[in-house]
Symmetry: D4
């Protein structure tokens, strides 16, 4: 049974990633997880911190976003399955960008969001192989696609 | 001088597409424009209208979003340059999805948005070859990259 | 408005292709249609007829199927949209093969079949951007994705 | 001697997969096998079971078929050789879909079926590098292509 | 009916290319033919003639072969169908190289040779969608795959 | 005879492009030429001019270089043959970058430079199908690969 | 230091493969070698032996050549470097086919042959990154490209 | 946590590679480094040394550059991140070539150079996800993208 690479993109303010990782661990599934940097401050400041500050906010953000892209693109390209969760706050355009990026690369896309977001996320959901609401459903999906068990 | 295919993705509530098309026409540039369906009602209802209604909102939206995907994916894949505009309202996750999709396909990405959106759009901007604020700038860019004139 | 290439795969015993072609013509849509050879006898005999007969049925069929593959693969690869219709008779494995082939190439797949076939076709439908029942629906889809009109 | 990934697609009502796996094990060949979920009930019900029930049969099947696609596409893409067996019952359009999908990805395709199916499978056979009738032949092929021994 | 690009590779000492071109012209098929430079002397001397002579035969040949590669690779990549003819003289390794090159690019390969060459050409034939003996057969194939007529 | 797309990259201070274009025109060859913006000032200032000035030289240059990339990448991707000329002044890293970019895309690469630059350009030359010294040689190559005439 | 996959294609009547393997072993280089089946009889008869005999020589050869293709294509696709040796006897079109196949896939191609074959092999040599005469040179190349030592 | 492949291209006269390797080792990051042959003499002479001398400097260099290409292209293709450093001496066109090559393959590109080189390197920098000045910054970037720590 070969290993599965699963990338966990999107919302960073709740513990959904931990829940998935714990659930998968409990089932002993052969999954390697990866994710963007989820430390919000580090993610915002990495560019200026490493490469030097900027007066203009645009370039401050630009340098950071590009460093993060080294991580996110590399890991998405290595992933078999990309899970993208949308929360109820913030613009989360990076999550939708990742979903589009993964979709164009032919990755299996799984989306997680509250049903209240169905309408604005319909294009993203249309590209997905599963639309979930909870981490437990993602764990069930991984168990099913890897072990064939319900 | 060969023809350029330019896809205009994103916000559908202002006349930014018309301004770009008019500006490019005035300059007589060899550009073929394409875009998603910008009639909001048609875009929402197309699935149920053609393929039959659905009780559940999720499937109603799903059928429509997939029909729209036939158009958007085909045209993005044929595009040389993909322009994505973000407005100040709505979630616009489909715009960010298109940006990610175009980026993974190696298309030249140009983003248009108000500077107030710089922070939440930093990952999208980081993937772009130009970040603009107005349709006039997009026209200037097309003139420059096609004719070499400022 | 650029041209769309649409490949019509599958069932060859009813006039569904003609209905779609006529419908699209009436709407004056910029579509170029292509299809497999729909003359059943020619399709079966082409290999032996051109390249010489065979005693074994397997090789007789094999030579013909490969000649047909020159046509079908070339035209599917040039298509933007691949329509695959399943009828109520015969094995039609070539139709399902074409659907899988088109899907792996990232083509927009539209399937047409009677609702009674939903269960055995669920994997094919899952790969499609639209599941239709009639030629009229396909015409409506082409009108919508090309002109944006319902 | 590197490892070979072999995907076993198609018919799920006889023990042909077990026969191949046993035969290869007896020869100690470096092969990792993978396959779709072969528990028919689980395969049919997985979508509704994990993601929630549906009133309409179409969506019930649709959700399940998409979950299965996460598994099948991922494993076919990782495979070096894809074996597809067609039995004498059922429509088996998913098997033909897999064959087309594998073929477009450039995988080495091996088909297994009774000679009585030669005519309706001629397009699938034409895309294959071997057409077999028994699991023992598949084992012999794997031994030959991996060890060079007859 | 769209245009077909057909590349005619291989043997340059008989008039097989002319026969195919004439036959296709008589049928008024929408085919654009291309081929390597068939003037043997020009093909051998082009490198030294344009880029300067060489004392060593190896470099003399090398410069010429690379210039020819600009033509052959460009045209093979644009081709839908690649016809490769093997004659009864010379090594003709460039013909077999072209066949391998076209095959890896997924082109439809048609081989033409005398039955006496079946054994040494078996690997090339195994990659082809048709193995022919005469230009007339190639014309028949093009008529069939383009018009569907026998 | 199909059209050839030829991209002329590199040195912008002599009239080598004009010489090639004139030579090809005199021979009536079916070639469409493209090139980067060769107006040095426009090329340097385009970013700030269209998108707004920058205090830091790095970002001033960065914005311009990215606009130029929209043109250069699009045109190189459409090219069949990429000619790159290196002159005797300046760093010309963009020329070498274009050569590497074109090479990774599998384009036919032709390099033009004085023999005095052979050693530092050896890696670039090693990726080329022809190494020339004069525009006349490039014209001869295009005549040869398109018409087969010396 | 990562592992290198090296495929040894071509002539099967001398011990050149053993010499390379021994030489590389003596240097303790991290290389995994692969090759076609070099047992001539097995290679010729494998198809009929496993899949059943054929009256016609063409199909007898065809079945065998396709089984061999499972091995050769899989291993060439996994290779980093493809070495192809041409001897002084036989047609060896399969060797040239492999060279073309490897070249189109972008593999690093190394050719080995006697200088007397320079002229008929010029197109193959033109696609190679090294043209050698002896197994010792191939060993030296592998040592150099892996360890950087002469 | 999966392994990262990092290729270190460019300037070979200072110890920047060692500094990066040491820094990464001290942090215990899961990185496998690769690089071109940095022994200048070996790199220049490898072709003639292994394959035989040449009277003409062009071919002497050519043979060496092609051997080096076996190493550099193979390792760049396996890399997740390509670091390219430009020093203050020499033409360094091979470094810019590598940057273009890596960029076209979609690798994450990180450039290192003194700010005094900003203008001539603007096209290379425009393709990079980070522009650095010191080995320490590269180490910080690798730590951040792999561990998420600043």
């Amino acid at each position: 049974m070969s290993n599965w690479n699963v990338y966990l993109s999107g919302e960073i303010h709740t513990d959904w990633r931990d829940q998935i990782v714990e659930g998968v661990k409990a089932l002993n599934l052969p999954v390697t997880f990866s994710a963007p940097v989820t430390d919000h401050a580090a993610s915002d400041d990495c560019g200026a911190s490493i490469l030097g500050g900027e007066d203009k906010k645009f370039w401050y953000d630009h340098k950071g976003a590009k460093l993060n892209a080294i991580r996110t693109r590399t890991l998405i390209e290595k992933a078999d399955v990309v899970i993208v969760r949308f929360g109820d706050k913030y613009k989360q355009w990076n999550a939708a960008f990742d979903a589009g990026y993964a979709s164009a690369l032919g990755k299996s896309l799984v989306v997680m969001h509250d049903p209240s977001l169905t309408h604005p996320l319909k294009e993203v959901d249309a590209a997905a192989l599963a639309v979930t609401e909870t981490p437990a459903q993602v764990v069930d999906i991984l168990q099913y696609v890897i072990l064939g068990k319900l």
